[in-house]
């Protein structure tokens, strides 16, 4: 019996080491850059990091990223001046674009279609509207030199807060324990393909079974629509709070949104108050090809092309005016 247990442990250990080697050699697991909180309490990536983002068990999506001096994934450095024309794209993972090669980003596509323009991509996974406006506010000196600022916004997700504060749960990913775990590419790979979900679920199940159970009241349709309406009003109030707190230049700022997932209340508010926005819903809907990746809901190359085209057309139109 002892022999069986010892041999099993030995074999398990050796197999894990070999698998770690395989995952590293074939680059099956993704690299994750290090994040930090800068002097303005803005969460971003540590400058000058390179790596590869991998999606799927068998490297179905493989792309290179490059974190520039400003701490964002981009092929260029951000040096705005009064002389040049610059566009800033500010947003979450869709703008950050780890699922695309950094030299083939939305920004690069826009630069290809509008000569003599520089596009700065301030994308960071998890950024909501508070993060975005706070970033522009604390880096006012830099952003005031940028001619057009496009802010990606998802009404249902990005307006849960009415002011900025540091998201500690995200920064906890940089804890010494997490850093240590990230060193094992096999572990990162296993987590990304979902093989570690059952143990995690088991832990939650156990925790929930210990917690005292509170009976949830069933919610009827009227209640559901009441909650929805309340949330929409809250999100709109948060939007108003954020723009009054951190400032919003209607001339230079433009929202990038999908009207299919945006409340009518918010859209009519934007129209009524002369906020500029680019709606990519009809463009995506009319597309005869898929616009998102197979493995996750981020935009694929075609989706990014469409977004870049819409932004370029919008900027051209604005410049003509």
């Amino acid at each position: 019996m002892k022999k069986l247990i010892l041999k099993s442990i030995l074999y398990t250990f050796l197999i894990l080491i070999t698998l770690e080697g395989f995952v590293r050699i074939f680059h099956l697991g993704k690299d994750t850059p290090t994040r930090f909180l800068d002097e303005h309490k803005v969460e971003k990536w540590k400058p000058n990091q390179n790596g590869f983002s991998v999606t799927g068990n068998r490297r179905q999506n493989f792309s290179e990223y490059h974190i520039n001096n400003s701490g964002f994934n981009s092929y260029r450095e951000f040096n705005p001046t009064k002389e040049k024309t610059e566009i800033a794209l500010v947003g979450d993972s869709f703008i950050e674009g780890f699922h695309q090669n950094y030299y083939n980003s939305i920004g690069k596509k826009i630069e290809k279609s509008i000569p003599k323009i520089e596009v700065y991509e301030y994308g960071y996974a998890g950024y909501d509207f508070a993060d975005q406006l706070h970033l522009i506010y604390v880096y006012e000196e830099q952003f005031s030199l940028i001619d057009h600022i496009i802010l990606g916004i998802k009404f249902s997700n990005d307006l849960n807060r009415n002011e900025y504060h540091v998201v500690n749960s995200r920064l906890a990913l940089e804890s010494p324990m997490n850093k240590l775990l990230k060193k094992s590419k096999l572990l990162v790979y296993a987590k990304s393909i979902g093989i570690l979900d059952p143990p995690q679920e088991l832990v939650y199940r156990l925790i929930n079974s210990i917690k005292p159970k509170t009976k949830k009241k069933p919610i009827d349709e009227i209640e559901v629509s009441r909650i929805k309406e309340e949330n929409e009003k809250k999100h709109l109030a948060n939007f108003e709070n954020l723009i009054s707190k951190y400032g919003y230049d209607k001339q230079r700022f433009t929202l990038l949104l999908d009207s299919r997932i945006t409340s009518d209340l918010f859209l009519s508010y934007l129209d009524l108050n002369n906020f500029n926005y680019i709606d990519f819903a009809s463009s995506f809907e009319a597309s005869d090809r898929p616009v998102t990746l197979i493995y996750d809901r981020h935009w694929n190359n075609h989706g990014r092309e469409l977004i870049a085209r819409l932004i370029s057309e919008y900027i051209n139109k604005k410049q003509r005016l």
Partner: protein
């Protein structure tokens, strides 16, 4: 509790360690412990159906003794019929009740009557009912035919009926094999445990990497067959052949491997049926525990092949139809059985049904000859064709599927429903088939290599294969749980 779930991988080591460290001293304790573990294993799925297992156990335990103790043949026969009626009754109610009601309704409709829907019931099919009822029935039948002396040890008998590694999907054991091991004290055997772990690993690979990874493709093709050309439909049903094989033989390997960990040897259930040279050989290699059950308890009592040719053909038709019906309460399974009867009868009439009984393809060679390759290919085609009925939801779907193959006989590149590269799956299956061919001589030793380094590399590759093809978002239950 699924063999490929985390719950099982927590359950198994705990049960295993306690078994060999604490409960190993006395046979009675060993058996009681295994029985308790088996009831927990089953009860975690649905504890209410434990009473069915207990009822089936009690009935056959006492009937076995009654058959043995009665001298009068009439009384013996009566006792046997009680067992058969009870077990078939359980099956009939839980598995076939709605089928009979629906079929009766359809029959009446032909004559202009209409049966109201209220006759059918919302019944949950208890997992494993087709397996353990057949196992308990075989006990009573063996006693009746004087092939077995009944046990007086109820715990041992209850353990035989509910032994958790094979409780829900077989192999369907005979008392002569399993009960005799349960009534003997097990001692720890390092080699046996090691072999058990290897089989578990290989079974998991077949389930996770082969069956589960191609399941979304098969599901997509069968669900939308009217939208696809012949090339895709042929691909779909061929992949289903691999899926069902990987799924069920994977389950059987894990079951046999798990039993080995507890010092029990279960019978082999799959002997590389992919390399069968005709349909008769296929049935000697596919779901062996079920086909031998039907041979022993249906075919031979009917006269087997010792009667006239005509009666033998009748017997063959009967066992294939019953076998089809055993799989599920649907006409598709009956047609599937009928097709196999039609494929088997010519081989039987030509006297070629036993010619490959004790041999494997390319017996003393590295590679099969051209004749063997052609034979394997034809057998695979025929068996795969029958699986259109096995997989389709209804007879009309099955015929629709075949009609679509004939009417749209064109080729089109198939796109994976989730967009994955199809080439990955073709490479995986090619490697799998070649590897299985390499190990075809011994289904119980999937990693038979002299060199320890080669063995280690293969273990690692097998685990890597599982990681590469693991799919987080699919239903991971076993196909044969529905039977």
């Amino acid at each position: 509790m699924l063999f490929n779930s985390l719950d099982f991988f927590i359950f198994l080591p705990i049960v295993f360690i306690l078994y060999w460290f604490i409960f190993y001293k006395k046979l009675q304790i060993q058996n009681f412990y295994i029985l308790a573990a088996s009831y927990i294993f089953y009860g975690l799925w649905d504890w209410r159906f434990l009473f069915l297992i207990l009822a089936s156990t009690l009935v056959d335990f006492f009937i076995g003794q009654a058959i043995h103790n009665n001298d009068a043949k009439r009384k013996k026969k009566m006792c046997l019929w009680v067992s058969i009626i009870f077990n078939i009754g359980l099956l009939g109610f839980f598995k076939y009740y709605n089928f009979f009601i629906d079929s009766w309704g359809d029959f009446l409709t032909v004559f202009g009557y209409e049966l109201k829907n209220t006759w059918t019931l919302q019944i949950i099919l208890p997992v494993g009912i087709s397996f353990y009822t057949f196992q308990t029935m075989s006990y009573s039948l063996d006693i009746y035919y004087k092939r077995l002396t009944p046990t007086k040890n109820f715990i041992a008998f209850a353990t035989f009926v509910s032994f958790f590694p094979q409780l829900v999907a077989g192999p369907i054991e005979r008392a002569s094999n399993l009960l005799s091991q349960i009534t003997t004290k097990r001692v720890f055997n390092y080699t046996q445990c090691k072999e058990g772990l290897k089989l578990i690993l290989w079974g998991l690979f077949k389930k996770v990497a082969i069956a589960d990874s191609i399941a979304p493709i098969v599901d997509d093709i069968f669900a939308n067959y009217s939208d696809y050309p012949a090339s895709t439909l042929i691909l779909g049903v061929s992949l289903f052949s691999f899926q069902v094989y990987g799924d069920f033989s994977g389950y059987s390997d894990i079951a046999i491997g798990t039993a080995k960990l507890f010092g029990i040897e279960l019978m082999s259930n799959f002997k590389f049926p992919t390399f069968s040279r005709n349909v008769a050989e296929y049935w000697q290699r596919w779901h062996v525990s079920l086909s031998t059950w039907f041979r022993h308890y249906v075919y031979i009592p009917l006269g087997g092949s010792r009667v006239s040719k005509l009666k033998s053909v009748r017997n063959i038709v009967i066992i294939f139809l019953v076998s089809g019906f055993w799989h599920g309460a649907n006409w598709t399974f009956i047609v599937w059985g009928a097709i196999h009867a039609l494929l088997y009868i010519p081989i039987f009439l030509m006297g070629r049904n036993r010619i490959y009984m004790n041999t494997v393809v390319a017996e003393n060679r590295w590679l099969p000859n051209i004749k063997e390759v052609v034979q394997i290919f034809i057998t695979f085609l025929l068996v795969t064709f029958s699986r259109v009925f096995f997989r389709s939801e209804s007879i009309s779907d099955a015929f629709g599927f075949l009609k679509q193959i004939c009417s749209d006989f064109t080729y089109e590149n198939y796109q994976h429903p989730l967009g994955y590269r199809m080439i990955d799956y073709f490479i995986l299956l090619a490697v799998f088939v070649l590897y299985e061919f390499r190990i075809r001589r011994d289904e119980r030793s999937p990693f038979k290599f002299k060199s320890q380094i080669v063995r280690f590399i293969v273990y690692t590759m097998v685990i890597l294969g599982m990681l590469l093809f693991f799919d987080d978002n699919i239903d991971r239950s076993f196909i044969y749980f529905q039977f």
